[in-house]
Symmetry: C2
Subunit: 250 residues, 2 copies
Amino acid sequence: MPAETLIARPPRLADSVSASLQGRIRAGELRPGDRLPTEKQMCDRFGVSRAVVREAIARLKADGYVETHQGLGAFVSRDAGKANFRLVAPGVPAASVDLGDVFELRLLMESGIAQMAALRRTDEDLVAMRGPLARMDEALRSGAQASDDDDAFHCAVASATHNPLVERFMEFMNAQIRESRVPTWDREGHALGRAAAAQAEHVAMFEAIAAGDAAAARLAAEEHLTAAASRLEMQIGGRTTAAHGKITGE
Amino acid sequence: MPAETLIARPPRLADSVSASLQGRIRAGELRPGDRLPTEKQMCDRFGVSRAVVREAIARLKADGYVETHQGLGAFVSRDAGKANFRLVAPGVPAASVDLGDVFELRLLMESGIAQMAALRRTDEDLVAMRGPLARMDEALRSGAQASDDDDAFHCAVASATHNPLVERFMEFMNAQIRESRVPTWDREGHALGRAAAAQAEHVAMFEAIAAGDAAAARLAAEEHLTAAASRLEMQIGGRTTAAHGKITGE
DNA sequence: GGTCATCTGCTTGTCTGACAAGTGAGCGCA
DNA sequence: TGCGCTCACTTGTCAGACAAGCAGATGACC
């Protein structure tokens, strides 16, 4: 099925141009402060019209790679590519990102978040967590797909830190790893007990946070994430597992 | 001096258009899946040419807010604005971000990073940390501006986790908060002992990491960040301080 | 009547040419 | 020498045109 939707489409010209420029910047061929070729030069070099070049540059501007000045030209900005954070840098194949690294980043963040949430959560925060938690319970009985509620639960925990930045980061991570939550709640996930296991870990997190027990909340979050990683059969050379063992076993 | 460079320039038309659209998306006026007005309609509505509209849309595409399909139109993408993470969302005033929230996010990340680094650091990693550390020592004697070395030290710690994602996140954060490191190392920072205090905390972090003591490394990182926050006289209602007291005192 | 190919209108993608606005360098003049 | 001016160049904006892709309507055929 996916093979049918993933037909190779000819890439848009602006995509190709911006990818090329971005590659040269990341490769160090164009360094911060350097001036890019003029639009006219790029038109000749890439064999496209100025409209295409301008669109490509607009994209690079949005990503913080270049800045333009009327009458002067376009320049590679200092901190090129550091204006925003992405899991997979645009222009590189998504497969080059190690899922183990992603889970580790989540482990880092979510354990701290759970800990902080335990210290700051209000009663309203607990209510917000109970909603998705109850829906996942229901899904456990009905065998429904509840990965959206899984998302919502983690967001509710982040929201309980009362730090909007932390909340936004969690929303960002959720959007990035959304697919990785599906196999927990699909038919096979229910049958093999992946859903039930995940939900038990959620409950442990919730109860620690509700009790205001920061250390227990951190531990529960760590266990949830490492268990989730192993449930997805991530073969990451035992790295995360080893780290978890040391981190939580200290 | 900065007042001279910050003269009010008439905003580029494409900026205004993309800001307007982005505002409507974030406000929920345009929801994920909704179709945007056609380029022609936007030309009429905003009173600009199609080139401007297309550039504005190119920016929104780069930010992951919209997707376009030839022959169909432009659509607000699911997870609009979640394609990347920024401290300050584009289009909103930078002043709306609470610096205390930023330091808290760093506290969350860097304490975990230091802990992980202590467990994984190789001898090469320690060498990489000693470079910036020595340069900051030198700057302490000469009174030089060493905020770049400060950056480099924190990056070296992140690099010792051997997780490229973690490393990139640290680079991202460094680029975002670069200005906030300057007052530690300027003339006043040296005179008032801010530089010396920061460096002492760096040394504590380094030694804990070198010793492989994960708990001590976490604690040192937490103390460095909370101290840095208070050095910068952040009045954040004692929130971070209170959280730190509880987090580290558990 | 139902099914299929085709046609049509609309939308985005790309091209071309032009002018406006801002910048820096070089020129001429006092 | 020092000042102002012009000029070439660059990005910003505009206008019009055609190509490519899509959805729905139209119409022919079984």
